[in-house]
């Protein structure tokens, strides 16, 4: 396939990630600082006595991952190349920079490259006094059947995990308490997405996959990992019922459950369409007697300029709802 010209605002493709980070630090000096290359931490880190949350992953998914570093959210992020894991060294530098002596939670998506590098970082750092525990986002029901939940990849639902774990840690909870809340959230968290167009990696200069106009791919991953089904592009209502059915069947959520819903845009899909999709989803959930207590609609985990959307459901209890509503502040996510 011939390299197609990229309609991108970039300089050297190789410089993409570092220039993005430079721009970010120039734009948000009161929020973020960089103690080591491709490592960002909250400007006020380390916070003594607070559980530190360290995350990381590939670039190209803004606001994932670095957009979730801030007050009431994560403390540090190791930033990988586009769509690829950060190194163990970066992760351990991130850990050093935010360790406040109260324990560290590694919270990130379940991708084998990331898992190995976080594991290695944890081993490198295990000389320290601080306990390190790991929580993986593995919310995408399209990536493995029931019974194999641990093999699933993480997609946009991780935004809810940052929110609840970050709020809990900000309250001064212990590492075990933070993990417990994140685990409970994760147990009731399910997602699934649909892609309507590919994206173009700056260094590759061509589309990550082919998807003919008029088609869509259900269950595609945020790096263009193939989905479970390709077919005719359906209406918003059909897509909503497709996604709702599979997500609901998986847990299963029960009549009377209360949920927070995340309708996430993958990059190019206009916010208007996300609300059209949410409207249909809301009616699906109403029919199933599931009450939507909170709705996040927007871009929370993207794939560069991919078109499409994903839907995440988080089962709520009183504490999770409180943590979802708690204040937070990063350059990408603010709650008052």
């Amino acid at each position: 396939m011939a390299a197609m010209p990229m309609q991108k605002i970039i300089n050297e493709p190789k410089a993409f990630v570092d220039e993005m980070l430079e721009g970010l630090l120039l734009a948000h000096p009161s929020h973020l600082r960089s103690p080591a290359p491709r490592v960002l931490v909250r400007a006020d880190a380390p916070r003594k006595g607070k559980v530190a949350i360290v995350t990381g992953g590939g670039s190209g998914h803004l606001p994932l991952f670095l957009g979730y570093v801030g007050h009431g959210l994560a403390d540090a992020v190791a930033v990988g190349d586009v769509f690829s894991s950060p190194s163990a060294q970066q992760i351990s530098e991130a850990t050093v920079a935010v360790d406040g002596g109260a324990g560290v939670l590694y919270l990130y998506g379940n991708y084998s490259g990331d898992v190995m590098n976080f594991d290695m970082a944890g081993e490198l750092y295990s000389s320290g006094e601080t306990a390190i525990l790991t929580m993986l986002a593995a919310d995408d029901v399209a990536s493995a059947p029931r019974g194999s939940e641990a093999r699933r990849r993480g997609i946009a639902g991780i935004a809810f995990l940052y929110k609840v774990a970050g709020a809990k840690a900000e309250e001064g909870a212990s590492l075990d308490e933070v993990v417990a809340v994140a685990q409970r959230a994760s147990d009731g968290l399910r997602s699934m997405g649909v892609a309507l167009s590919p994206c173009v990696l700056p260094a590759a200069g061509k589309a990550t996959f082919d998807l003919p106009a008029g088609q869509m791919e259900i269950g595609m991953g945020i790096h263009g990992e193939p989905g479970t089904r390709r077919g005719r592009l359906e209406s918003a209502s059909e897509i909503a019922s497709d996604l709702a059915r599979q997500v609901l069947a998986d847990l299963p959520y029960e009549a009377g459950d209360e949920v927070a819903v995340l309708v996430n845009g993958l990059g190019a899909t206009p916010r208007e369409e996300l609300y059209v999709l949410f409207r249909s989803l809301h009616s699906q959930l109403s029919s199933a007697k599931i009450e939507v207590r909170r709705a996040w609609v927007g871009e929370y985990a993207t794939s560069l300029e991919m078109a499409g959307a994903s839907v995440s459901l988080l089962r709520l209890d009183a504490e999770l709802l409180r943590l979802i509503d708690a204040p937070c502040e990063s350059p990408f996510l603010v709650r008052r």
């Binding site: 690829s84 894991s85 190194s87 490259g113 190995m116 493995a144 260094a203 991953g221 990992e225």
Partner: protein, 219 residues
């Protein structure tokens, strides 16, 4: 093996991997994220740069095994870990770091050293990646290579012949992976899409080893 010979072998592997980058992206794309060619190209650039540093007069260039080769393998491993931290990159880094320790061991023939290196590499990959044999990963390729090298060691053949057999074994393993169902990594998410194509990681191993074996025959 002298570290200069090792350097030649690694830079042959590098050239082969670079030339097959598109194929590797394609294979990884059937059921993965289509970036293995990018990863292995970065690995290749590390191998080239580190091998070039050794030259023919590098440290310990003349020794069999020993510190020269160990140093080369270990600096490759560290650089790969830093520069190519994807699944395969990280596993490759682990393999080099483990091999670096093994190559420094004493009292073995050239083939024996090679066998120890690959056995250590495989152990490292298994510990880091937590895949099982038969999961359709590069581990299956490494297993085939180790078996072949053990056989060659028993048969007492010379290194070039041992590596030729090992390369052949890794090719066969890649071929065999075509009908295996992926149970680890990205490909396990849509296992049916992988069928009919060799596992990308196994294929990368076969490409690298094929080039290494050839480089020894010439050298």
């Amino acid at each position: 093996m002298a570290s200069s010979a090792l350097a030649r072998a690694l830079s042959a592997a590098a050239a082969a991997l670079l030339s097959k980058a598109d194929d590797l992206n394609r294979l990884d794309g059937y059921a993965g994220d289509g970036d293995l060619g990018i990863t292995m190209s970065e690995v290749a650039r590390v191998l080239e740069e580190e091998s070039a540093e050794v030259g023919t007069n590098g440290p310990g260039a003349g020794e069999a095994g020993g510190t020269g080769a160990a140093q080369l393998l270990s600096s490759c491993g560290s650089a790969i870990a830093r520069r190519a931290p994807s699944t395969m990159g990280t596993l490759t880094a682990t393999a080099f770091l483990r091999a670096a320790k093994a190559v420094a061991s004493e009292g073995a023939s050239e083939v024996g050293l090679a066998e120890r290196c690959f056995a250590a590499a495989m152990e490292g990959v298994q510990a880091r990646g937590k895949a099982s044999l038969g999961d359709r990963t590069v581990l299956d390729g490494l297993d085939a290579v180790c078996t072949s090298l053990r056989t060659s060691l028993g048969a007492g053949v010379v290194l070039s012949e041992a590596l030729r057999s090992a390369a052949r074994a890794s090719s066969l393993a890649a071929e065999a992976s075509k009908s295996m169902v992926p149970k680890a990594g990205r490909a396990s998410w849509v296992p049916e899409r992988a069928l009919g194509h060799p596992d990308a990681g196994c294929q990368a191993l076969a490409i690298a080893l094929g080039a290494v074996a050839e480089s020894l025959e010439e050298g």
